[in-house]
């Protein structure tokens, strides 16, 4: 597609359930980021994938959070045993490093509500 696509756009789940959020980056983009934006807060870095390098997971808040990127393209962010404090908008962004020098293109986000 022309832009970064995220799904679902909205997800309501019950506390304790697992959720998966999906990100389709722009074709050919080698870098992919996940951020979390809680209500009224800034961007919280979660994880960064760059090509075939080991991902930078330094922002994941707990071991309930994990992410993978298959085939260097689609990424899935998984939150296990969701808690109410996980409620936020999860943003995905991609970029083509080496050209456009790292400009990020953002998806519209997945809004997660944990009841």
């Amino acid at each position: 597609g022309a832009g970064v696509s995220q799904s679902p756009s909205n997800k309501v789940t019950e506390k304790g359930k697992d959720v998966e959020l999906r990100c389709d980056p722009i074709s050919g983009h080698t870098a992919l980021y996940w951020y979390r934006q809680s209500l009224g807060q800034g961007l919280e870095f979660l994880i960064y994938f760059q090509g075939n390098s080991a991902p930078d997971k330094s922002g994941l808040p707990s071991d309930r959070f994990s992410a993978e990127r298959t085939g260097g393209s689609v990424s899935t962010l998984t939150i296990q045993r969701t808690q109410q404090e996980d409620s936020a908008v999860y943003l995905c962004a991609s970029s083509l490093r080496g050209q456009n020098t790292g400009e990020l293109f953002f998806g519209e986000g997945s809004r997660l509500t944990v009841l």
Partner: protein, 114 residues
């Protein structure tokens, strides 16, 4: 890693007045800097970027920013704001070389008052 600091969490300004949103970065080595804007209930989009060359960068919607190496700043300015500029603005940057990740400031909410 590059560190980016936005000094103001909220900036109220009257319509048609000038505005400056402040951003400072941590490294004086080769650095790429960006400003992104997030309008209410929307995703982030690029406003402008500094890669190299001229230190005055012009972006969309009449915004501009000046890269100041001696003060390690990249402040965003607009000479006359409109109601439609009400949004949250994020400064971001990363050091060139290798696969440094982009880091974001905490954001500045610009509230334009009619």
């Amino acid at each position: 890693a590059q560190s980016v600091t936005q000094l103001d969490s909220q900036v109220p300004v009257f319509e048609e007045a000038p505005v400056e949103l402040r951003c400072n970065y941590s490294s004086s080595v080769s650095v790429y800097l960006f400003w992104y804007v997030q309008y209410p209930n929307q995703g982030l989009q690029l406003l402008l970027k500094y890669l190299s060359g001229s230190t005055l960068v012009k972006g969309i919607n009449g915004f501009e920013a000046e890269f100041n190496k001696s003060q390690t700043s990249f402040h965003l300015r607009k000479p006359s704001v409109h109601i439609s500029d009400t949004a949250e603005y994020f400064c971001a940057g990363y050091r060139s070389g290798g696969y440094q990740k982009v880091t974001f400031g905490t954001g500045t909410k610009l509230q334009v008052i009619p």
